[in-house]
Every structure is written in C-alpha cells, then in structure tokens.
C-alpha cells in the first residue's frame, strides 16, 4: 500500500502555560485554558469568530449550528463530513473532513450534506472477478482521463486515480489495496470530470477480492466443521452448569498463548 504522507499536517499550537492544576476527575469540561486565540471563518459565507485551534466541525458547532447532516463518527471513519473550502488570496479549492481538518484564518467553507452517486444493484454470487465487471457495472470508469483530480481531493491521501487505472486493467487486488482506507466521503466523485463514483468502485473491488480472490484458511474450515458436528457441546454444557466459584477457579488457572 501507499505510504501515508499526510499532506494536511499542521503545526501544533505551543502551550501558553505549564499545567499546574490538579484535576480531581478527568472530564470533558476539565479545561483550564487561558482565553483562546480566535480566528474568523466564513461558514457558508457568514463570518464567525471561532477558536484558532478548532477543527472545522468544532468551529461549526461552536458558532451555534446544530449539525444534522454532516457529522457521523467524528473520528475520521464514516465520511459524513466532507467539506470544501477556499483560503484568502488563493484561487485553489481545498477539500477535507470537517472532523479532521483545522480551521485557518479567513477560511471560507461549506459542508457537502450528501453526494449524489450511482450504485448499481448486483448479486455478488453471480459476478466474476475480472475487468468485465467494471465494464458492465461502472462503464464510466473507462472515461477516466487520468487528470488526478480525485487523488488531489482525497482527504485520506489515497492514490485514487491509480486504483481507477487498476480497475480499467481488471487488477482487483490493486484496487482493493489502494482503496482499503477509503471513507466513502465522495470528495473524489464530486470533483471528477469523468463523473466516476470512485468509492463505490472500491467497495465492489474489495468485495470481489474478499469473496473470490482471497486465499482460503484451512483452520477456519476445520473449526467450522467442529462446531457443526457439535464437538464443543459437552464442554459448553459442563461450564454452563458451573457455579461462579468453580468458574473463577478455572478462569484464573487457565493457560495463555
């Protein structure tokens, strides 16, 4: 897989004071900071003063918005908080996850509440893991002009264009590997001039790999046979009858791998 480069690195703010306070309990509200440095951001065009070290999501909530669409896991897994922004004096359009991206002074931002995307219905059992699958289900993949805009838009720094090229070649393993960490945020799809829905192509490839191209695990098959033949039935019944004290003894005496 590609080395993670994290093009979105930021500098951590230096602490203003050394901690001296003794916290009795550690809670979400156990904060003892001096007045915070603030910046101005334009949330959908409207100016708001927000803490300089806030994430975009934190800033939106700080400003008073109750997010309905645009927040999910809040930790960089679900892809609900795709955001586009511009910076002062810079023509470029930037992309990021609101939960993972810090605000900058003068940032003009807007969340994308949902991204329209095609997802054909298919029966995985009837598919074959080769290039014809993509030709049939996602023919627009072959319109890719290799402009690399998708890769530039990816908040995970994935090599998105490379996996679309791999799909064109029917290299399902490569698509699986390069798209593995995808959040389905849709920022690639909304920027793509060929109207490809990259993240759904990735899901299809991963499912094909998992089902058809994986190496089988013999010990898993053996264990399934054991369970099916009720091999553990007696041992279960014995333990389920045991009193707490007996179980405790057995537990603390068990060996460990």
């Amino acid at each position: 897989m590609a080395k993670i480069t994290a093009k979105t690195k930021v500098k951590a703010a230096k602490p203003k004071t050394k901690p001296g306070k003794t916290a009795k309990t550690q809670t979400a509200s156990a904060k003892s900071e001096p007045p915070k440095a603030m910046v101005t951001v334009y949330i959908m065009g409207k100016a708001h003063k927000v803490p300089a070290d806030a994430t975009i999501m934190g800033a939106i909530e700080y400003a008073g918005y109750q997010i309905k669409r645009g927040a999910g896991c809040r930790e960089g897994f679900c892809g609900a908080c795709a955001t586009v922004y511009r910076l002062p004096g810079d023509y470029k359009i930037y992309t990021g996850m609101a939960c993972m991206t810090l605000v900058q002074d003068g940032m003009w931002l807007s969340q994308l509440p949902a991204i329209p995307s095609q997802k054909p219905v298919y029966d995985l059992d009837k598919l074959e893991p080769n290039v014809a699958v993509f030709q049939k289900l996602y023919p627009e993949v072959f319109r890719c002009v290799a402009c690399n805009t998708c890769t530039k838009a990816c908040p995970q720094d994935l090599e998105v264009m490379d996996y679309i090229q791999a799909a064109k070649q029917g290299n399902i393993e490569k698509v699986m590997d390069l798209s593995f960490d995808c959040l389905s945020c849709g920022l690639c799809a909304i920027r793509c001039p060929a109207e490809i829905v990259h993240f759904n192509v990735g899901i299809l490839a991963r499912r094909l790999y998992g089902k058809y191209l994986r190496k089988n695990s013999d010990h898993l098959d053996k264990m399934l046979k054991n369970v099916k033949s009720k091999k553990y039935d007696a041992a279960y019944k014995e333990m389920m009858k045991m009193k707490k004290d007996e179980l405790k003894k057995k537990y603390y005496a068990r060996d460990s791998e």
């Binding site: 897989m1 080395k3 993670i4 994290a6 690195k9 951590a12 602490p15 901690p19 306070k21 916290a23 309990t25 550690q26 809670t27 979400a28 156990a30 900071e33 806030a54 934190g58 700080y62 008073g64 109750q66 927040a71 999910g72 896991c73 809040r74 930790e75 960089g76 897994f77 679900c78 993972m100 219905v121 029966d123 995970q156 720094d157 960490d181 899901i203 499912r207 094909l208 790999y209 998992g210 089902k211 994986r214 013999d218 010990h219 898993l220 264990m223 399934l224 369970v227 553990y232 279960y236 333990m239 389920m240 707490k244 179980l247 405790k248 057995k250 537990y251 603390y252 460990s256 791998e257």
Partner: protein, 555 residues
C-alpha cells in the same frame, strides 16, 4: 508535536524502551497480571462506576427501584416527544414484516438475514446508514478459529472479563457462532488480514488467553460496515432504508405485542407511522450522553434512544449500572481528545508507561481493570503527564511495536491511527501517544435471550442496545462479534415470528400510561427523550438563543 515540558518524560520512555523490549522478547509477562483480589481492589477504588454518585434509583418502569447509571435513569425519567392522541393508527404510512430501528452493524446484518428468511424490512435510522459505532471499530473481532483455540476457551475468557455476570446462553451463542460469522463476512467480501498461506492473522486483546482478534488493518469496522451496507443496498425491493428518520416511540397492539413504531423525519419534522409484525431494536449505545462528563469514543448519534423507547413499552433492562471506559482514549492534542486508540496497539506489543518511563500494569488486563489502573496511576500516584489544558494521561509506547514487529508494520496495520496523529506532527512510529480512559461502551441494555427476544412479545434487540452478553465488562473484539452474531439471530428469529404473528388493534396507550406513571411518582422534569443528538453549542451562543415560542420547523 509535544510541548517542550513533556520532553524529559519522553526521554525517559526512550531510555527504558530497550529494557522493556527485552522483557517482551523473553516471552514472559512484561508485568505481573493482577489476581482476583487486586482486580477488585483497583476497580473499587478507581473505576468511575464505583463512585456513589454515578448511580441512582430509577422510580418508574420495569426496573423501578434499581440503581442505574445516573444519566440513564435521567433519560428514562423523561417525557415522550409525542402526544399519543394526535396519531391516527388506523391507516399506517408504511407496512412491513419487520421494523428495524438503527442502521449500524446489527441492524444491517438483521435485515440481510431476515430477507433470506423471507421477511421484508424497513430500517429506520437517525443519521445515515452506517453512521454507527460499528463503523469505527478499529482493532478487530474475536472468534476462535485457530488450532490452539476453541469456542469454549473464548467462552471462559468472556465470562472472566465480564466478572462471571454474563448470561451463559448468550455467551455460548456469541462464542459458538463466532467461526461462522468469520466465514459469512468473508463470503460477503470482507477482506480479513491474513498470513501469506491464507490462515487468519490473529492477535491478542485485553483479557484473551488465545490470539483470536481478526482485523482489517485498523479499519475493521469500516470494512465490515461498508460490506454490509453495500449488501443491504443490493436488495432495495425487500429492505427499505429511511435515513434521518429515527423511531421515537414503539407502537403496541391491544394484546401487548410490539407492532411498529412512530418515525420522526428530523428534517421536515413530520411524524410517520409504521405497522410491523415484529420490531428489532439495534440502536447501539449511549456514549454521547457523556456519562460522568467523560469524553467519548462514540459516534454523533449514540444517545441511547433504543433504551428509552423499549423501556416505555415495558422491556426490562439488565446491567444498566455498568459503563465501559476504554483504557486508551487520546488526550493530546486537544482536538482529538477522547478518540479511540485501538486495543490492537497493545495486542501488537504497545505498552502503557508512566511519566518515569516505567510499566505499571500488565498491558492486557480486561478493559475495566486496565482503565482503573490508568486512573490510579494519574490521580492517586500522580505518575501521569498533564496536558496544557489540564487533562491527565499516560504514555502508550507505540514505537516499541515497530521494533517488535519490524519496519513498516505500523504503516500497514495502523494507517488510521498514523493518520490521526501525523496531522498534528506526532509520528507514532517514533513517539508514544498520550492516553486516558474514554467513555466507550454500554455494557448493559435491554435483556434478551439467545433468540434476541425480550420480555415484550414481538420486540427483539441486538447489538450494544442489548444487555447480558458481556456481563458488566466487555472484552475487546466481542462487540464486533456481538452485533454480527445477534444481528443475524434477531433477523432470523424475528422473520420466523413475523411469518405467523397476529397483529391486533394498534395502540399508543403505553405512552399515556408512562406519562401517568411519571406524574404518580411526582417526577417533575422538562427532559424529553429519545435525546437524538447531543448539543455542542458554545455558552456564548446559548445565551443569545432566546426564542420564547417555537413555531413550525423553526427551532
């Protein structure tokens, strides 16, 4: 980048690393595991659950008189969002075999299996499908599949972790279905981590006596969840997904059977009625209630909604006095405070270290014991490190992993974690992470049997919303297994029940009765539940939110 004042402590962690590495390589335990008495002692003194104010008596409903987690008792003693007399139940807006509440792992698995058993379903969900804790699990899923392991060893590990309070039939279902779930997911296209020969790549977790943690890098939940979602979307004729439409009350029939739900469109603020032969609650947990004020690892919608609606319908709760704090929540930088740092880090050899660079606890104690030890190390022994904003933490020595497992291991196996920190100029292959327990999991829930049935006819519960399977403490990797095992079982048994289930006259009488019970118990409150979403508006803004009367959709 860590602030300068932490550098002395970081240097000590560096200095002791070689010695700790040798200890790890010796094959012996790097720190003595606790005895039963030592576990009990540290839990009693330092686990947040054992503080008197963390629990209070609930005054109404099926668990009346019991001590429950305070924040849970609060949401149970609250008003409904609706007035039952305003609803005409004679012409429901939707009709289906099964109403599934929640579109996380359990809900999606239930829908897929219900369909295979001939039942159509509607999934009602508050956010989008997959916006769930299931999506966020990093470390993996336990299942006994290797030659050194067996489902019964897994059974004993789970019981010991849960302090032997787990319901035996549920733990048997959990552990015995485990291998089949691994295979089922693989056949649906989940890409498990494997050894070059195809055998499953498995690691230890806290409280496990065998290596049985299956993973998909550190995107385990994301890979499984997206696979299940994709499969749900492949059956639009049989599974209807209603997003941003949480179920805010259950509908009963005149014989006391569960027969549907009231759905709330959060965007248009309309309510809709669903008539169903069976209901599966798969709403997950309650991390966003911020119990005891703790930060949480949970997703935005984890507000315990299923507990409330099930309780009003008469479902009994189990172990709702027990909260899981994940030992390794992030505490620095501030922007990622509370975020989950997977237990797989310790499974791969990462060690918790105090400010002097010393080990102070065996890295793989069950979660509650490990968490309590971290709290003791920080708050009593003062051997933790304090962040600029006043949070305490201990080091989690991740650079050790790269040495133990070889160069490039972190990048390949912990890409999510690496990303999380490198944004803030912390390279976790070279510097440790600063961690402290974070509110993670609802150990208890609605009591179920191994068919996912509750004491209310027609009401099934699966996943984190259910109670009994983990006792009072869940082991790592057993929740991913839980939502698969019991999601599948709920789908199967609810579909079977729906085939012949009679439905009488629909009723919301139980809501009126609950309101009367509140009145009778002299509970005066303006609390309304389900909570739906937490509020993170700043105090400055709240001071100016002065609307006196709400009208229409303006709120």
């Amino acid at each position: 980048m860590y602030p300068d004042y932490m550098h002395d402590s970081l240097k000590k962690v560096d200095e002791t690393r070689q010695k700790r590495l040798e200890l790890e390589r010796s094959g012996k335990n790097v720190f003595p595991p606790m005895t039963a008495e030592e576990r009990e002692d540290v839990l009693n003194k330092f686990h947040p659950d054992y503080k008197p104010e963390s629990r209070r008596q609930v005054h109404i409903g099926p668990n009346k008189g019991e001590l429950l987690t305070t924040e849970v008792a609060d949401i149970l003693e609250s008003h409904s969002r609706i007035e039952s007399k305003l609803f005409d139940l004679t012409t429901p807006d939707y009709e289906t075999d099964i109403l599934i509440v929640g579109a996380g792992g359990a809900g999606c698995a239930a829908a897929i299996i219900a369909r295979q058993n001939g039942a159509q379903s509607i999934i009602s969900t508050k956010l989008r499908m997959g916006d769930a804790n299931s999506m966020m699990s990093q470390g993996g899923m336990q299942a006994a599949v290797t030659e050194k392991d067996s489902p019964t060893i897994h059974y004993l590990d789970a019981l010991g972790g849960g302090h032997f309070d787990n319901k035996p039939d549920l733990v048997r279902a959990l552990t015995e279905d485990g291998p089949e779930v691994v295979k089922w997911l693989e056949d649906l296209g989940v890409v498990w981590d494997k050894n070059p020969d195809g055998s499953m790549y498995v690691l230890h977790g806290g409280g496990t006596s065998r290596k049985r943690m299956h993973s998909c890098r550190d995107y385990t939940g994301a890979i499984i969840m997206r696979t299940l979602m994709d499969e749900v979307r492949n059956h639009p004729d049989d599974i209807k997904v209603l997003e941003f439409m949480p179920t805010v009350e259950l509908i009963m029939d005149d014989k006391g059977r569960c027969a549907g739900g009231i759905l709330y469109n959060m965007e248009t603020e309309e309510y809709f009625t669903v008539k169903a032969k069976a209901v599966i609650i798969a709403t997950g947990g309650y991390g966003r209630l911020h119990i005891r004020g703790f930060d949480t690892t949970n997703h935005y919608g984890a507000t315990g909604d299923g507990l409330v609606i099930a309780y009003r319908a008469g479902a009994k709760l189990m172990y709702m006095d027990s909260v899981q704090y994940h030992p390794t929540g992030s505490v620095f930088p501030e922007q990622i405070a509370g975020f989950l740092i997977t237990e797989k880090i310790r499974g791969a050899g990462g060690q918790p270290i105090n400010k002097f660079g010393e080990l102070f606890v065996w890295p793989r104690e069950p979660r509650d014991v490990e968490s309590a030890s971290f709290i003791r190390e920080c708050l009593e022994r003062k051997n933790g490190i304090q962040t600029p904003s006043g949070r305490w933490g201990v080091w989690l020595d991740s650079p050790l992993i790269e040495i133990i497992q070889g160069d490039g291991y972190m990048n390949k196996n912990f890409p999510a974690m690496y990303r999380q920190f490198i944004r803030y100029n912390i390279d976790i292959t070279k510097e440790p992470m600063l961690v402290y327990p974070s509110l993670h999991y609802q150990n208890g829930g609605v009591e179920i049997n191994d068919h996912c049935e509750t004491n209310v006819k027609g009401l099934y519960v699966a996943g984190e919303a259910s109670g009994g399977v983990h006792g009072r403490n869940r082991l790592m990797g057993n929740s991913v297994l839980d939502y698969n095992v019991f999601g599948r079982r709920a789908g199967k048994f609810a579909a079977g029940y729906a085939k012949s289930a009679p439905i009488g006259k629909l009723s919301l009488e139980h809501i009126t009765a609950y309101e009367n019970e509140l009145k009778k118990a002299k509970i005066k409150t303006d609390r309304v539940a389900p909570v739906l979403l937490p509020l993170y508006t700043s105090d400055e803004v709240k001071k100016r939110q002065l609307t006196a009367h709400y009208e229409g959709t303006l709120r």
